[in-house]
């Protein structure tokens, strides 16, 4: 079994070591008294990266996106704006629509179409969140009760459908078949990723390749599409489209890796959702894949009991986190994220230096350094 552990460790060295450091904040002790394993001596911690430059730069556009979102959430059926408003008000970072706005500008686009398409991207994301709420029993998302917990499964499904349709209406109004193709394809891939995730749930034999496919489909595809649209609006070449797609895709993978790491390490108040949600749901994320692969027979029995048989007791989450630290799984997860962050960074290299490019590069740092 130790052979497996070595294999996991050697895999790590295949990844370009990340040069982006999470802030020292990230090293704060978490619940269960475990520190994040990311501030090793060899790295200098940078000041905490944020999305502030991006939001400042896009302030006007973003305000118009938000207005459009509120406007298009409207329906004479009262429950729809009520429920959709709940999840939209919960806000989130608006990271995906900001990617569309910023890449459009990076590509020299000076028109108005990016606002509606950014809103469409956010609607697709919100619909996915609502449908995801049906899937897991997470009680907290971004610090607010989920729509599902408040209204139940049914409205979440149906309002998700409504928002998804609204996204397509916005795209149809925009009138670009190229954009419609990108986003309808993305929507299908996201659904495939969500189903694949469901199929790997509770299955401790899931390997890293399958896990990567899940997060590439369910998360990174929309990041990629959001960025590719920017190149389309800017009338750029296919190579530039592909470069922005690669930027978004690798950023999305990094983002999800950190998300999955934080589920075993963030402090609940910061993450805004319950720590250990994935564990309780039996989701097989990279930290679990690594811990299972590196574990001895006793440890594997623990993972099978808790995740496959879903038989969990007091103290099991703490034990899971302890095992992850024993095998460096959270650190390795972070190095993977850092690797994808590097790839995303390189994908932007052919674009001219400008405030938008700087802000997008900082968004990579933000995704890697975030503690929630």
């Amino acid at each position: 079994m130790e052979g497996r552990a070595d294999l996991t460790r050697s895999k790590t060295s295949l990844c370009s070591p990340g040069n982006i450091m999470p802030s020292s904040e990230a090293a704060k002790t978490v619940e269960f008294g475990v520190a994040l394993p990311v501030t090793t001596g060899e790295h200098q911690a940078k000041p905490r990266a944020s999305l502030e430059n991006l939001t400042t730069l896009l302030k006007g556009d973003l305000a118009r996106v938000n207005r459009l979102i509120v406007e298009r959430m409207h329906s004479p059926v009262a429950l729809i704006p009520q429920l959709a408003g709940h999840i939209v008000a919960a806000g989130g970072k608006r990271l995906r629509p900001m990617l569309t706005l910023a890449t459009s500008r990076l590509c020299g686009y000076a028109g108005e179409r990016h606002v509606a398409l950014a809103a469409a991207v956010e609607f697709i994301h919100t619909a996915t969140l609502l449908h995801d709420d049906v899937v897991d029993s997470s009680d907290l998302r971004r610090g607010l009760a989920t729509a599902n917990a408040v209204w139940g499964n049914k409205p979440s499904v149906l309002v998700g459908d409504f928002l998804f349709s609204r996204a397509f209406e916005l795209m149809v109004e925009d009138g670009s078949l190229q954009v419609l193709k990108i986003l309808s394809r993305a929507a299908a891939v996201i659904a495939e990723g969500e189903v694949l995730q469901l199929m790997t749930s509770n299955d401790t034999s899931t390997d890293e390749t399958t896990y990567l496919r899940v997060i590439s489909d369910k998360t990174a595809e929309l990041f990629a599409a959001a960025c590719r649209i920017g190149a389309v609006l800017g009338g750029r070449t296919e190579d530039e489209e592909a470069a922005l797609d690669a930027f978004g895709r690798n950023l999305g993978v990094a983002f999800q890796l950190i998300d999955d790491m934080l589920d075993y390490s963030a402090r609940e108040t910061e993450l805004g959702k319950s720590i250990g949600d994935d564990f309780r749901d039996g989701k097989i994320t990279l930290p679990v894949v690594l811990a299972y692969s590196a574990g001895n027979e006793t440890e594997r029995a623990f993972w099978r009991r808790t995740l496959e048989d879903q038989e969990q007791h007091e103290g099991d989450l703490a034990r899971a986190i302890e095992l992850m630290h024993r095998h460096d799984c959270l650190y390795v997860t972070w190095t993977r994220a850092s690797h994808y962050g590097d790839v995303a960074r390189r994908a932007l290299s052919s674009f001219r230096d400008c405030p938008e490019k700087d802000a997008l590069l900082e968004a990579i740092d933000f995704c890697l350094a975030r503690t929630h």
Copy 2:
């Protein structure tokens, strides 16, 4: 309270009396030993109408639609074709795609695009069914266990999303923004109707106007869109588009009214879903609206207990059916359906006589006469 009952009856007379008769088959006794109240002496029963002429006429097209459906259901994620195949194999009548195929031909369209668009219409319908399965606890749909009952809520939601996305991919490949506009609008209206239905669930104060809006949105909108596409493909005038929209819309309302009537009257083996599903779910359909409106205080207390408080005992469904017969609610529901069938029939009057028109007219008879 009797005043209310009279009001309900007088409302009935506002509707054009239907001239389309259900077959004598429909008068067969149902479970609970109650006969359908539709064979009054003044009407001559026609031979049972069927979709046979439509399916024969469209045989080649329909085979290509079915092949395309199977092809586009494919995904490397095994559960998707497995689950989607379950619901697609369950088959259904393919009524909605046949409407697109038939109206296209009626409008003189001789190309190939109608096949893909008919498949898109069916995918939207199938996605709605899958999401509807999350909503109600119906154990039987068309005689097979629902996807939901076999696989659970989560896969039904996600595979529905996948099929919905595939529908948009098919439309985007077709490349008509006009068609995309019609179907993305329809998808949003369907979702609104489903949410409105949810809001009226268990609410015995729901009136007929609200009920009609629910079924117009959740069911008739897709019938209307499926038919309108035919006029678009045929390059017809806006008036003709509107006429086919009206045909589909009124047919859809009639179809749903009969569906809701059958839930209290069909024989289980024929309907292919459990009789009394709507009752058990506390759905407020027209038979209930009419019975509540016509009922005395004791009867209303019964409806409130069973539908609002969802407190149901052995014998309650039989009592519900008995009350509906006491107030002629199933017959009145049928006359409403017959009225909408007439409107649908008139909407086709400006189109040339041809086998497609005859088959579409027969589809109205089929919807009104069906016993399942």
